[in-house]
Symmetry: C2
Amino acid sequence: MKPSAIADTVLLTDLYQLNMLQAYYEARMTEPAVFEFFVRRLPDERNFLVAAGLEQVVSFLETLEFSDENLAWLRETGRFAELLLERLETFRFTGDVDAMPEGEVFFADEPILRVVASLPEAQLVETRIVNLLHFQSVIASKAARMRVTAPDMTLIDFGLRRAHGAEAGLLAARASFLAGFDGTATVEAGRRFGIPISGTIAHSFIQAHDDEVQAFTNFARSRPDNLVLLLDTYDTEAAARKVVMLAPKLADEGIAIYGVRLDSGDLVAHSKAVRAILDQGGLQSVRVLVSGGIEEHELARFVSEKAPVDGCGIGTSLTTSEDAPALDCAYKLQEYAGQPKRKLSEGKATWPGRKQVYRTCGPDGAMIEDALTLEGEVLPGDALMAPVMRKGTRVGDLPSLESIRNRTSANLERLPRALRSLDKAQPYPVHIAPPLRSLADALGTALRGDVSPVLR
Amino acid sequence: MKPSAIADTVLLTDLYQLNMLQAYYEARMTEPAVFEFFVRRLPDERNFLVAAGLEQVVSFLETLEFSDENLAWLRETGRFAELLLERLETFRFTGDVDAMPEGEVFFADEPILRVVASLPEAQLVETRIVNLLHFQSVIASKAARMRVTAPDMTLIDFGLRRAHGAEAGLLAARASFLAGFDGTATVEAGRRFGIPISGTIAHSFIQAHDDEVQAFTNFARSRPDNLVLLLDTYDTEAAARKVVMLAPKLADEGIAIYGVRLDSGDLVAHSKAVRAILDQGGLQSVRVLVSGGIEEHELARFVSEKAPVDGCGIGTSLTTSEDAPALDCAYKLQEYAGQPKRKLSEGKATWPGRKQVYRTCGPDGAMIEDALTLEGEVLPGDALMAPVMRKGTRVGDLPSLESIRNRTSANLERLPRALRSLDKAQPYPVHIAPPLRSLADALGTALRGDVSPVLR
């Protein structure tokens, strides 16, 4: 198993990072910098978010270096000073990382990752850190909504084909599994992450045969384990009746039908009709699986209309997070050379300094409120940010994907009921503790009043 | 330059492809199959689509093979018959591909790629072909909307950080460039595809300095070429006045300011205010560049309100195609062993057979209508599908990215005015030619009436 992401060339970065690095080295600005990654606001379609992607970030930071090929290309461009190129030759990430564990529930303004490193190191890694944390958190948050909506249904990721490229497909399989999905259709995600893989047949298989029952029979004989037959190529209910007629013949050969899949039309109506046909035919043990354009509102409809659906394959809506494909997130400088820093840009002002998040839960474990404060202040509740890397090396082993999945499941159990709704809920309370608010106010006043000594 | 996508392991596929392959080999179903990739319907937010991703598909097909490591892992899973594993050892794509060229405008039901190969070959490649064509066409279509809306503005892709993983970032840079963007901030996209790269500075650079003007000065001295200063870290107009005061000092050092960047607030109002400050300060040649949450409606506002914006950095809305992150597309079996095939699933019925698209344009070159017909039927207009691969090898060189970009630009010029609107337009006329309609009707009747000889 390769835990890393699919491609970690250090040139997966924005040009301005390299431009800034050159200026930092030339101005000898290499003191410690503190950056934090957080989401500015939740999309209307999300009442909570789930942190994911940390393992890929750690792997990226541990292995980060400029290859000879990279350096030669950068030199060829003629854009960069020799000083920068020399520094890049030996460039490594030697800083510290604190983070919320993967699978933690989080909200706007709460940091889920902090980097403390010399300014050039902490700056260069911005682009890929955001790229990795943002996407997996987007998918884990979407998958968690589905899991919470249909807690007892088998949910399988079917989304590689419409994911945004290869890495998106693989990391979506990972992020949805850790958020509670049961498996993926993506073979490479099984190999790379150990996620259970599953798959049935496509309409093309049925179509390639002159006869639907011949198609079912050929597939059953070739792949008798966990046999799932696809019913909707021509006429769903007619195909279900064919399954009933075929089942005894297959049973004679020792083949049991595990399930049937419906992929079009009104899935509530078809699942009920097919379930009735199967039951009347003595096939009570055959599962009804559905796919085709399913998202969490459709899952909610399955539940409310008591559709006899045992499992769902979910593709596009999951792996593109179709209703909210991006989060308004940022990786922002909070401190440099011991001085807290604050950005004041309209609508994008940040909370300065190194921060910690405390979460208070009730006696039953249910989440009550969070508090955002400066690191070092101790508040009631559980501190969510914990050390992950020190001096460029991970602090102990990261949790396995299975244990992250268990943690997420426990976290989702603790969600307030209102946040579990698919409708927009009152935001979960995140209090800004007084010391943090005071620091922000003081910096805001100081920075707005800034009169440049250079121009005086 | 490496023209291929970022990662082409053959295990980037759905498990069901391997399951079906086993059944096909066991049933000796290896006759020629014809699959076509098309979009079922356009999203409400799109009046036209732009084809992209063919180069990566061809590269994938040419290099497709199962490595020893892949085969060993597949064997270890215990899922597959020895017959399948043996066939996979020597598996190569040896089929034919016809396609619309990248940069072609297309509509619902029109195939943009056809694969003709033995059934197992044509089936296995489905997942990755869809993954590559879908994503780049999504991005090219989004980018083309922006280009059409702001024809005279410099547009730069800033979207790697919020793209869905590494490959999405790289391929979005490529797809947006071919659709008319002028460059990207992503360094690796410059190296890999030869796309012009550009970049400025981040707010962290300003914040890391105690003084904004000192930050401007340090950056100017380090990176004097194409110097762009970021104005909105604390107060946009105050920063613009600092630029005016600083410019003569920099000029004394031989440094010219290329532009300023605004990244927050009302960009129309700020661009006008900053333009006025710069002009009054004698800096008429300094360009105003903007970024921060820009999408095509904001571009339209820049144009209609005559905002003095010379260029835009566009991130999230572009690289996630935020308003329409997925297309309802499919890669469907149209013919097997010489027999045309049709899927009848509700809402997903397909047009059968090998198809060609003819486009009729007026004397001024403007597009008038398309016709979808069976290959071999000749209609007026230009045939859009052309040979790309024969027997697993490309037919001649694929066009360069620059020439695709020129072709796209010419195609966008030919778009009917109504389709260039950001509002939903009357759909562009795509006629189904009579021979195709007759075939579809005949197959529909035959398939609905299917009575299985196996069950008789």
